[in-house]
Symmetry: C2
Subunit: 448 residues, 2 copies
């Protein structure tokens, strides 16, 4: 299988792949460990993903929710940060492989997270971007803002409804938050800013295969979320599946009924799958991945047959007390990191290892819009303004840098009173243009 | 030449190309004018260019210095904002031409600004990006931060000095500000963040063809700026010309002496030229552009032969009291906009036109680093901490949105005390990788 760890007279080298919630928590838990730690990430920053939709909708800037990993860890002398894209894990020779070199390890923790899943239709990604990275967020921001700008100057008035129809696939927390925020942009943020179109005429459609929004939440909160979304004008399509995604429409199926929805703005929040590194590990340890590409780990989060390779976070398939897999959320990754940190310390010091892992669910929250949120906190259900303030407070406190907390607080306060969004920039590409053979007069000018 | 304006019973249609300092000022000055105004810009935001180098060096986020044009003008009912790239101006038929259509005008003000000039070597742009747009700024930010990250894991130690040599071409305000900020990043911001390299070993070289830095400033301030740059460790090469830019070196010429400087980080702040729209206008009006591509305008800022087409800002060649062309700075563009605003109002109302244009120079300022700046204010020369505080105050007050002022103030205060820079994100592309045929062990690991 995989060779056992060779321990010489030097400190063991622990490599952690991924500086997300799990990887960062683990590094911090090992600050006193007699280890040489290398934290590897494709990005130079830790990203606070729960607020990524606020970047996608222009309420916050990318830097507000991204903290440089090197800066966060500058005082922890037993860790160095390496920027690199891990393409393979060579379990036999105990090395991780980058495109430009390899890195040997004694202990390895893989916390590489997850990416969008298009359920076998990866070709949809170009048309229907998901929301996992800063680049995704600025791409969605560009698409949302360009829709209104292009509608304002559309030559063909028939194009306007197509440009102003936003379809969000998947009504989990990300889909709900995105749909609510786009509806608020159309109704509040852009009010008075256009002369030829009414931004409030935009149509936001939220598609969900299950029978309710936020299917992982208690049914009464799903119902409250539904009411709040409908109050914002969001059109809900539950029990509806996405059959096809095309640049100018999306094909939906509800039971036997099919519908073609003309739109140029489709966003994907329907599913995630584990980092492809899970496949490498599964092949090495001879286990089967689950449908979401997660690897079933041992009780100590190692993979079968490799006692020195751990997997935590979105990549690990761990069953909760109810027999269902734990969700891919930050608290799960962080608690797993704490457990694995204790396990590693036990191995290094000879202390007894931690007992069985048990996930402590402190609750879940999703926000829909201004003064609109739902929260399930240890069985207590909240919906509306109170849930929204709890949501704000909890997310603000979880930002890792005090400066970010202050900047986000100011922008949220501003947004609350003015309904403006300060980071409404169309960046990254030249403004989209419709190519025509002949230069036609632009619409809405009326000066012929 | 060009047909005279046809005035029917409708309000004349004024088209303004460019929402920079000139264009925006003009729109605001015409808020009470009986005009239908269309403001056209390639971007959906007004950019506060004087602080762009702070985005390029991770001190501020793009949205802090960019305000959505539609939002700024939402209350001014006689203006609409159009997002579009003007590719041509058809003077004969009085239309501006986009790729996707045309827009007729009665009056036209062209305020499309300037872009980098590589003095006939446009192929250098790929290697040596300039600093004119948000995308430029995030590209430079990426290049600066990646240099240190790549050096940290360089397989070949000989690569490190090459990666950590930053060459800035041009020692005007932008070049000086960029050089000073990169030196501070190396010395202060990144301190304690790396384990294998010493960021402070980075070399920052500032190249200038004239005999001193800030050649447009009084000589005593140039001298003070030179001292401050040298205190930051910046190496100055005055009387030095850039002969060749290549991906791994820059060839410099000082008198008869040539030098090849090995570097992978070259930034361009050496020259600008007017928007290519000036060529179209020059051809229509039969005038010659100057070397910087600017169009000589009449006393009322119209172009010869076309009384209804105005040019202001960086595109207009206007001589000052000293017989030299006015510089391409915000105050010039704004005062020209105010003059043209009065001229247009006079034409509409029959009031007497404004008298001769005279530029009121309130001074100029450049910042070099923390507590280091120079300022020439109506002949009063300041250098050092006082100049720096004046610089901070003036720039803060000029930001168009109060929210931006607050956010920038907080980030500057933070930066002042911690020397940290909050917006240090490598975004926009996958981290650069060196391709090797064979996977080699990464440097600095020492675990073989």
């Amino acid at each position: 299988m995989c060779p056992t760890m060779h321990r010489g007279d030097r400190e063991p080298h622990l490599v952690i792949i991924g500086g997300g919630f799990g990887g960062l928590e683990l590094v911090r838990n090992l600050r006193k460990a007699p280890l040489a730690i290398t934290l590897v990430d494709r990005r130079n920053y830790h990203l606070f993903q729960p607020l990524l939709y606020q970047v996608a909708t222009g309420a916050l800037s990318p830097a507000n929710i991204a903290a440089p990993l090197r800066n966060l860890l500058r005082k922890q002398r037993n860790v160095r940060v390496l920027l690199g894209d891990v393409v393979d894990i060579d379990v036999g020779s105990r090395r991780i492989v980058f495109r430009e070199g390899t890195l040997p390890f004694d202990l390895l923790v893989v916390a590489a997270g997850s990416t969008h899943s298009y359920f076998g239709h990866n070709e949809w990604e170009r048309t229907a971007p998901g929301l996992k990275s800063i680049e995704d967020a600025t791409a969605i921001r560009r698409k949302v803002l360009l829709a209104f700008a292009e509608a304002e100057k559309a030559i063909d008035p028939a194009l306007v409804p197509k440009l102003l129809t936003f379809v969000i696939c998947g009504a989990g927390p990300t889909g709900v938050e995105l749909a609510g925020a786009i509806a608020e942009i159309a109704k509040d943020t852009l009010r008075h800013e256009f002369r030829h179109i009414d931004p409030a005429s935009a149509r936001v459609v939220l598609v969900e295969a299950a029978d309710r929004v936020l299917p992982a939440y208690p049914p009464d909160l799903s119902q409250r979320a539904r009411e709040m979304l409908e109050r914002l004008g969001v059109q809900l399509r539950t029990l509806t599946r996405v059959k096809q995604v095309e640049p100018d429409h999306v094909a939906l199926q509800y039971g036997d009924r099919e519908e073609n929805l003309p739109t140029r703005r489709i966003f994907w929040a329907a599913g995630v799958e584990a980092s492809p590194l899970a496949k490498t590990l599964a092949a090495a340890s001879g286990v089967q991945l689950d449908r979401a590409g997660r690897i079933p780990v041992q009780a100590d989060f190692t993979i079968p047959g490799c006692a020195d390779i751990f997997v935590i976070g979105d990549m690990a398939l761990v069953l909760g007390a109810d027999g269902k897999p734990l969700p891919g959320v930050a608290p799960v990754a962080m608690q797993e990191a704490q457990f694995v940190g204790r396990e590693i310390m036990a191995r290094l010091t000879g202390a007894p290892p931690p007992s069985t892992f048990a996930y402590h669910d402190r609750g879940s929250m999703a926000t829909i819009g201004r003064l609109k949120a739902v929260a399930d906190l240890r069985g207590w259900h909240f919906a509306g303004a109170l849930a929204w303030f709890i949501w704000l407070f909890v997310h603000l406190m979880q930002l890792v840098q005090f400066e970010s907390r202050l900047l986000v607080l100011i922008q949220w306060t501003w947004h609350y009173f003015t309904r403006n969004r300060s980071a409404r920039l169309i960046t990254g590409e030249e403004p989209g243009t419709q190519t025509t053979d002949e230069a036609k007069p632009l619409a809405g000018v009326g000066r012929e």
